[in-house]
């Protein structure tokens, strides 16, 4: 990652022509860091305006011929092409394709190499999973190449209380938010044969006990969850799990999302009633994928906020967008699918104030696509993370 950045900066500096359709000037959008004219680049970066034919804000709105002004790591402004004066000295770069916010993968295991669980303990409410994040791991490259600029690094559902999942940026290597979500194993996966709980009754008795009687640092975590300042990610398997988890969340006033179930048909009302969101797991091609996509569409149509998970490195990160595309094929509106990949996912993870949309003040996490982002024929052309180009299809070997 660092090397490619250096290369890009070098290209900008030396004026080496880029591939077809990419001029040397475009590469300037690697922000102030690569600009020879800027002094004190870290603090007073030159504003770079990206003009693009079509811009997906991420909340469902689409702007034609829009200009995104990026200054430093943030988006300064978003406007239609004739939408008023741009800041002085703005370098305008013309882009071909469609621009969307960087994608948000809810629940991911990238870079953690299994260090997100402790085999001896399955209740770790205070465990900060950010410690398992390795920004130099090559998984980050794969995520970025798939347009994923935010990943929620979570504990698997095998843990009763798996810890605090951070939102990380695989592009910049930054931790966007520590303790974004509390991972709770509310489904069959959290049961084991050789330790407590072995049963659903033991599991829910224990969750009940933890959420009501915990003290100290652990107690504070559960308290924050009950005050809705810490959303929970409830892992479930089947519809019975969903009913139990939704009832539990409602009883304790939890906010957050359910993840892991495939069938939602008869339990949508319960989920809605509990005010929970739903994270759709990776949807595979073939097999039960068709049905899973239809189920996801039903959930979204019921007015429940959805997001997607891909579970890298178990699955290829491209499956994130492919899952959304499958939902589009099953009847989901493309705008809703993109929302689920960006702003809605950010809202589920509680990082809507930082990313998930192309909006003033938010991180400049952007993806340039060759076509509509939710169509599988569209390719990732370029990815910006915190205002920096972190991936360029033209120079990345695997994409050529």
């Amino acid at each position: 990652m660092i090397n490619s950045l250096l290369l890009l900066s070098l290209a900008a500096w030396t004026g080496i022509p880029g591939p077809a359709g990419v001029t040397g000037a475009e590469l300037l959008s690697t922000s102030g860091a690569g600009l020879p004219s800027s002094s004190g680049a870290e603090t007073r970066a030159t504003a770079v305006g990206l003009r693009v034919g079509r811009l997906h804000v991420g909340d469902g709105t689409v702007l034609e011929n829009a200009v995104v002004v990026v200054q430093g790591t943030k988006v300064l402004s978003v406007s239609a092409a004739d939408g008023g004066p741009l800041p002085k000295d703005t370098v305008i770069i013309e882009l071909e394709g469609e621009l969307s916010p960087g994608l948000v993968a809810l629940r991911d295991y990238a870079t953690m190499r299994g260090e997100n669980v402790d085999a001896t303990r399955n209740v770790m409410p205070t465990a900060d999973l950010a410690w398992a994040f390795d920004p130099d791991h090559r998984d980050t490259q794969a995520l970025i190449a798939a347009g994923i600029t935010t990943a929620i690094l979570a504990a698997p559902g095998t843990e009763l209380v798996g810890g605090l999942a951070p939102a990380v940026d695989p592009g910049s290597g930054a931790i966007v938010k520590r303790g974004a979500l509390l991972c709770v194993g509310a489904g069959a996966r959290a049961l084991a044969f050789n330790r407590f709980p072995t049963s659903t009754s033991g599991q829910y008795d224990e969750l009940e006990r933890l959420f009501t009687t915990s003290t100290g640092a652990a107690g504070q975590v559960f308290q924050r969850a009950k005050q809705r300042t810490l959303p929970v990610l409830l892992d479930v398997t089947d519809r019975a799990d969903v009913l139990r988890a939704a009832a539990f969340a409602k009883r304790h006033g939890l906010a957050g999302a359910l993840i892991g179930a495939m069938k939602w048909g008869d339990v949508i009302e319960a989920v809605k009633d509990a005010g929970l969101s739903v994270v759709i797991g990776p949807i595979w091609v073939g097999g039960e994928g068709e049905e899973a996509a239809r189920q996801a569409v039903r959930v979204a149509r019921a007015g429940i906020r959805i997001g997607f998970a891909v579970d890298t490195p178990e699955n290829h990160p491209a499956l994130l967008r492919a899952s959304a595309a499958r939902c589009v094929r099953a009847g989901l509106e493309p705008a809703a699918a993109l929302r689920a990949l960006t702003s809605d996912a950010a809202a589920i993870a509680g990082v809507a104030g930082q990313t998930g949309k192309i909006a003033p003040g938010l991180e400049a996490d952007l993806v340039l696509w060759s076509g509509p982002p939710t169509e599988l024929t569209s390719r990732v052309l370029r990815v910006w993370s915190d205002g920096q180009i972190v991936h360029d299809a033209a120079t990345a070997g695997s994409q050529q």
Binding site: A188, L191, F193, N194, R195, F196, P197, T198, S199, T200, S201, G202, Y204, D205, D238, R239, A240, L243, R244, D266, V267
Partner: protein, 470 residues
């Protein structure tokens, strides 16, 4: 669909009339009901349009049977059973089957299986400890499990589920309807009435002493039947002693004290004579020591017949397991076909059960048939799968017999109940059919008419097509 709806409306009218008939003087009842058979069209319109509360058509039916077995000791001949909104609202004998009634040979109450095993396997029993009275199996159940429908189709409309036999004391079981809303809570009839446990081989299976360093949560007692008995005695002794010695308190002890106080019934799975004796001796011991008086239900008590005097003395009611296919059953228990007859003669309150009833020949109706072969009368066999288990579970106020005001849990037969040649042709749970019910005479006539019309139309069109082909 449209013509069908008008038939349903007619059914409701009939229900209303029979209802009205019931509140009038008894002699007028028959005449009025029979007079109502042609159903004047004017009344039809008035009733359906003017009714303040429209009955739920999906849960309202008129059934007619040559024999209505009420489970209360009577068989009503040529009787109509009227169901409105999932409740039985009228039972009228001596009627000719109305055209819009679902007419069958016999109707019985929905079966109650007090030993059903539709749980989620080991996910339904917490094995981290042997004594888990504070757990409840209800939360572990899956209302979407397909086995519920299979159980309901076999005639079982109410089931009691205990945790699987892996703990000494496994916690609360739950009595619930086998069909209905996809929610265990919504289907529950009794959730905290029974603390369940096991005496026998199964709670110790899988446990082993630790040789050297314990490597598993299963390195523990009990490893034998003797250990199981010891766990039972210790649990109740500690629960009782904890009132004076707080250090003896443990999770769930409060619930065991409630059992001693008679607030919950103890539901003990005990297959063999040895285990049944243990259960009864423990009960008597607790009483003798002044802990309290335990109300006891012996489940899967295959060998209950071997100790009739002890059984009688204990006052325990019995739930029999399914008859073994051949030879001996679980724990080498011996249960001949005469077992239900022996218990009936003894005057013990007993019920039959089919457990998980995986095989069609092991389902509850078949068990009742086997019990009849062993000497029970049809009436006794019927009670053993309906009212008796309902009484044992304490839910006889709602289910277990065909009586006005009870839930419309009904089984429809095409012959005499439990006869080898009879089949179940329909089941209602709270008035909702598990599968489509047999057609009414009106529906059959309508279908015949439609078929004839279709055939006539085809016959008319046939020459045309042949000439066109030429």
């Amino acid at each position: 669909m449209k013509p069908r709806r008008s038939i349903l409306r007619l059914v409701i009218v009939r229900g209303a009339i029979v209802l009205a008939a019931c509140v009038t003087a008894a002699p007028a009842l028959l005449a009025q009901s029979e007079k109502a058979a042609p159903a004047p069209p004017a009344l039809d319109g008035a009733a359906s349009d003017g009714a303040a509360t429209k009955p739920d058509t999906q849960r309202s039916w008129t059934l007619h049977a040559r024999e209505v077995h009420t489970s209360t000791g009577t068989v009503l001949e040529n009787a109509a059973v009227v169901v409105v909104d999932g409740k039985i609202t009228a039972i009228t004998p001596g009627l000719v089957a109305p055209r819009d009634a679902v007419a069958v040979h016999a109707v019985t109450a929905g079966f109650v299986d007090a030993g059903a095993r539709i749980h989620d396997g080991f996910a339904s029993v917490e094995q981290a400890d042997e004594i888990q009275p504070q757990r409840s199996v209800a939360i572990t159940l899956d209302p979407f499990d397909v086995r519920w429908k299979r159980l309901a189709s076999s005639g079982v409309t109410t089931a009691f589920i205990a945790p699987p036999e892996r703990d000494v004391i496994g916690g609360f079981g739950v009595a619930l309807k086998t069909q209905g809303a996809p929610s265990v809570a919504a289907r529950t009839l009794a959730g905290q009435s029974f603390v369940t446990g096991v005496i026998g081989n199964s709670p110790s299976s899988g446990n082993s002493p630790a040789f050297g360093t314990p490597s598993s949560i299963y390195n523990r007692r009990p490893t034998t039947r003797m250990g199981v008995e010891w766990e039972w005695r210790r649990a109740f002794f500690d629960a009782y002693a904890a009132t004076r010695f707080p250090e003896r308190e443990f999770a769930g002890a409060e619930i065991l004290r409630e059992v001693l106080a008679g607030e919950h019934t103890l539901y003990v799975t005990a297959w063999t004579t040895a285990d049944i004796r243990t259960a009864i001796f423990l009960k008597e011991e607790f009483q003798r020591e002044g802990f309290g008086e335990v109300s006891l239900v012996l489940e899967a008590a295959a060998e209950a017949w071997k100790e009739p005097k002890l059984l009688e003395r204990s006052g325990a009611s019995v739930i029999l397991p399914p008859f073994p296919r051949q030879g001996r059953g679980t724990d080498q228990s011996l249960m001949p076909l005469e077992t239900p007859k022996l218990l009936a003669d003894l005057g013990v309150l007993f019920a039959l059960s089919a457990h998980d009833g995986r095989d069609p020949n092991e389902r509850l109706a078949f068990q009742a048939g086997l019990a009849m072969r062993g000497g029970l009368t049809r009436e006794q066999a019927l009670v053993a799968v309906t009212l008796a288990p309902a009484r044992i579970l304490g839910v006889e106020g709602r289910v277990g017999s065909i009586e006005v005001g009870k839930d419309a849990d009904l089984v429809l037969w095409n012959g005499a109940p439990f006869a080898a040649t009879s089949g179940i042709v329909g089941v209602l749970v709270d008035g909702v059919p598990v599968a489509s019910l047999p057609a009414t005479a009106a529906q059959a006539a309508e279908a015949k008419e439609a078929k004839e019309a279709k055939e006539a139309k085809e016959a008319k069109e046939a020459p045309k097509t042949t000439s066109a082909a030429k």
